[in-house]
Amino acid sequence: MIEFNQVSKSYGQTQIIKDLTFKLEEGKLYVFIGPSGCGKTTTLKMINRLIEPNGGNIKINGEDISHLNAVQLRRNIGYVIQQIGLFPNMTVEENICVVPRMLKWSKEKCHERVKELLELVHMKYERYAKKYPTQLSGGQQQRIGVLRALAAQPPIVLMDEPFGALDPLAREVLQDEVKSLQKKLHKTIIFVTHDMEEALKMADVIVFMEKGRIIQMASPQEMLTNPASDTIREFMGKHVKNTHFLKVSDFMDEQVVKVSHSRPVIEATEVMKRKKVDSLIVTDQRNTFKGVITIEDLKKGTKGTLTIGELLNKEVRVVKKDMDAKEAFNLLIKSENDYLVVVGNNKEVVGIIDKTNMVETMAEALWGDLA
């Protein structure tokens, strides 16, 4: 549907876009993402010729767009910008109808279209159509901005960080709405953002750009599991930690209170008091796991017992640090203890997981980073 062929763009000495070649298929939502200055917005604006490339060509449905009339071309491509850009001198209805009117639609047809579109986003015609943009909230304004772009039923819609200036609540609602509109209307949407969360949520295909080049073009799932470069991995940040691939070591607590098995019992009591815990991990000199010791165990001790090792409780379950998180969670739930001890390949203690870690991990997987 949209085809870039060795497209380049530079301003003076700085080359913004370098030999860009790619194809976008019809009916999909493409999210262009990357660090600022990577050329994603320039790429977008070259599609409706707000920016003209220096080299190469761009084809839409096989037709080189540089041979088309720019004004005509733009009327067939929806355009949504971050600053919304509704015309303050026009009502909501007039704003939505700008492109249809230029395409010589009849008044009745425009009117019908406005009604239909407002209904799509659950805004009442009677209540909103005659209002001016300044009388609407930011979220409502951008909703009208999206409808305005869809009004003349263009097959392609360009969205340049459309929700960047909205508050988080409105942003989320609009993301959902655009996604569902896309499913209903099968538009080819090119969406620019710098927010990976948004990209993962919206995209059929994520196009990652850096320094004027495309680094990776893949589905969100593919990009999560298989990021092509370190920059992408960095951009994904916390999102890379897909729950399906979580290991015990990803969420264990490394702050472990340990004592050596050869130390006198009195020392265990001391440490417990000082660290305010009721059980300790017992290891040998090489940090190999030996067992745990709890307050109950200490009470069993008699005057004859000398070292911690003699009172050792070996019932605590041990898990390997690269065990699948889900398996570990199952063990933890079934276990009578409050925690599991995590050991490395040589049985050395590397951490523990308790139910708090488990809840935190699950919460993060569900709602993202809480901190």
Partner: protein
């Protein structure tokens, strides 16, 4: 009394014709200055320098081309009125947020459509205040039109000075002041309404 009314009507007529023509030319030049970036300084500087010429000198120069009468006065008033209108049109158009501009372009509006449908309506309150300044100034200046044979309220004032008749001077002067105040207040009110319109806030 009837004579005085005739002077007032002629005075207002001259001012209105001049303002109308000046508004047309001024908006046109303001748009040209806005569209053609390298012309903006030339246009505004020219209008600026016309305004620095003393009005009597300007009218005298114009008299050479246009002869005696109302036409010369109207041409002079038009030249005087241009600056505030050009400047306000230019500024009004340039003050439109770039996002509106980009949206209009991105939606496929031609340059002309952008101007007529979006830019001029948005700049209109500002253009109108330019016109107000022009009209009020023109009311005052046209009094000296009598020196180049034009009609209006300058005539009783001039005759009053010649015959040392204070009453006659005031007969011309008071209506001039009245007209200026009337137009200033009336147009100021419209201006305020335009600016407070919900669309523009």
């Amino acid at each position: 009394m009837q004579v005085l009314l005739g002077y007032i009507v002629e005075h207002v007529y001259i001012v209105l014709i001049a303002s109308l023509v000046a508004t047309g030319i001024g908006i046109l030049l303001g748009v040209v200055a806005y569209w053609v970036k390298y012309l903006d300084t030339i246009i505004i500087m020219t209008a600026d320098s016309i305004q620095t010429i003393p009005s009597l000198a300007l009218l005298a120069m114009l008299m050479i081309c246009f002869g005696l009468g109302n036409t010369t006065l109207i041409v002079g008033l038009v030249l005087y009125s241009l600056l505030p209108i050009i400047r306000n049109t230019y500024n009004g158009l340039n003050n439109i947020p770039p996002s509106i501009h980009e949206a209009a372009r991105g939606m496929g509006m031609s340059k002309y459509q952008r101007l007529v449908k979006v830019e001029l309506p948005l700049a209109f309150p500002m253009i109108f205040s330019g016109v107000k300044i022009a009209v009020v100034t023109a009311i005052g200046i046209s009094v000296i039109g009598v020196l180049i044979g034009a009609g209006g309220l300058g005539y009783p004032v001039y005759r009053g000075i010649q015959s040392n008749n204070l009453g006659l001077i005031l007969q011309g002067a008071i209506p001039v002041v009245g007209l200026a105040i009337l137009f200033d207040l009336g147009m100021g009110r419209i201006e305020k309404q335009l600016l407070s319109k919900k669309q523009f806030n």
